[in-house]
Subunit: 237 residues, 2 copies
């Protein structure tokens, strides 16, 4: 017996959606959150937090992007998420009262809003809607990771690349009216889709020849979404 699940928004399956965490709060609640936020600048290459560190608070990115990764037991870095504008991160360890399970590094100079541990825990107590939403989001993120596992285990390299290009374009250019392209190092992109840099290069070349992407410097521009969806064997939207 096969249960077919009504397909929700395709991108939502792979998106933490933590940018919506402080949305839909009442105005006073939203104010209370903003009152405890402290704006910080984080330099490219520095860590917001790292595996086994003790959590001091949570972050909302206001400008720039950051990679979340974990090291496999042989030490190689595995990126499993790219955070960008408005995304909130760092709450798992806080809520679970344990150390960070992963690391987060700024991929460019960031502007972030920081909420200190005690302030955030107090907000959770004072705003039940926020606590509820946070727990709901963690459950959602669990499903996202399971979906990523399915992709990595089942799809070949070209499919994975097509998927992540579509996801990254959707996520990174969420708030930008102009097309900016996908701007990650080849190394980071390879670590995200689970392959080597050289092998990724081969796939990118194939995609260029097919005409579905264009490359300028390190930037990757999507030229033909439909063709990428075909590589994925999925109809989106």
């Amino acid at each position: 017996m096969l249960y077919i699940c009504y397909m929700k928004d395709f991108f939502a399956q792979f998106d933490f959606q933590s940018n919506l965490l402080f949305e839909n709060l009442s105005e006073p609640d939203k104010q209370a959150v903003e009152n405890v936020m402290e704006s910080l600048v984080v330099k490219k290459g520095s860590m917001l937090f790292f595996e086994c560190g003790i959590p001091t608070g949570i972050y909302q990115i206001k400008k720039g992007k950051a990679k979340k990764f974990k090291r496999g037991f042989s030490g190689e870095e595995q990126i499993f998420y790219i955070y960008t504008t408005d995304d909130v991160l760092g709450y798992h360890a806080l809520l679970g009262q344990e150390r960070y399970q992963d690391s987060c590094e700024a991929l460019e100079d960031l502007t972030v809003n920081f909420i200190a541990r005690e302030d955030f825990l107090r907000l959770l107590n004072e705003i039940p809607a926020l606590q509820q939403k946070l727990i709901k989001n963690i459950a959602h993120e669990f499903g996202v990771l399971a979906n990523i596992i399915a992709v990595l285990a089942q799809k070949n390299q070209n499919s994975r690349l097509a998927l992540f290009l579509l996801l990254l374009e959707n996520r990174l250019n969420r708030n930008s009216p102009t097309l900016k392209g996908i701007d990650l190092t080849r190394d980071d992109l390879a670590n995200l889709i689970g392959t080597s840099q050289e092998s990724l290069g081969r796939s990118l070349k194939q995609f260029k020849e097919l005409g579905c992407i264009e490359i300028d410097k390190r930037n990757i521009y999507i030229k033909d979404k439909k063709q990428l969806e075909q590589l994925l064997q999925v109809k989106i939207d």
Copy 2:
């Protein structure tokens, strides 16, 4: 700069540890939990719950094992966990007040203890230690999924097989004094490590020839742990 994290128990990195959820409660609390449990028998092949279903409660497996999986967008099943005796499952969707994100199927006839939704939510309110432990466990599970992602993305098939054999032996024979071997269909094992049944067969044959496993019917017996660890390039314990 490289941060090296003190390596906790190797198996814990890949184990949800939800079998410990009701441990370390006070005697009255443990009694309260047991009072609302209802013992059920679930036939091999039937579903404890499935993706998009509405949660009715949680389960603790008392005998047998079950697979948790999700379908990728092309419909193929991806197993991401095998549950066994004492494991508790089904609480993500309940806590997040949303539908199940994944499916769970009995791999053999199961004896389970069921706790109805309202009873469980009431217990969480009445026993803060339980709620805290549950949230902590969900944060831990998040890390486990991230570790599985790293393995699937970075390790070749033989390494993945070696790892999952060690994990399964450790998890499935937790409470059994006699060696029982690993008893999964080739299909399920292939879906767990992310390969095809035929290709899995080739790896199993290699492992047999190396002498690190023996096979009887579908059962896989580990003969040489050290050799499997070498295939993994990891020193365990």
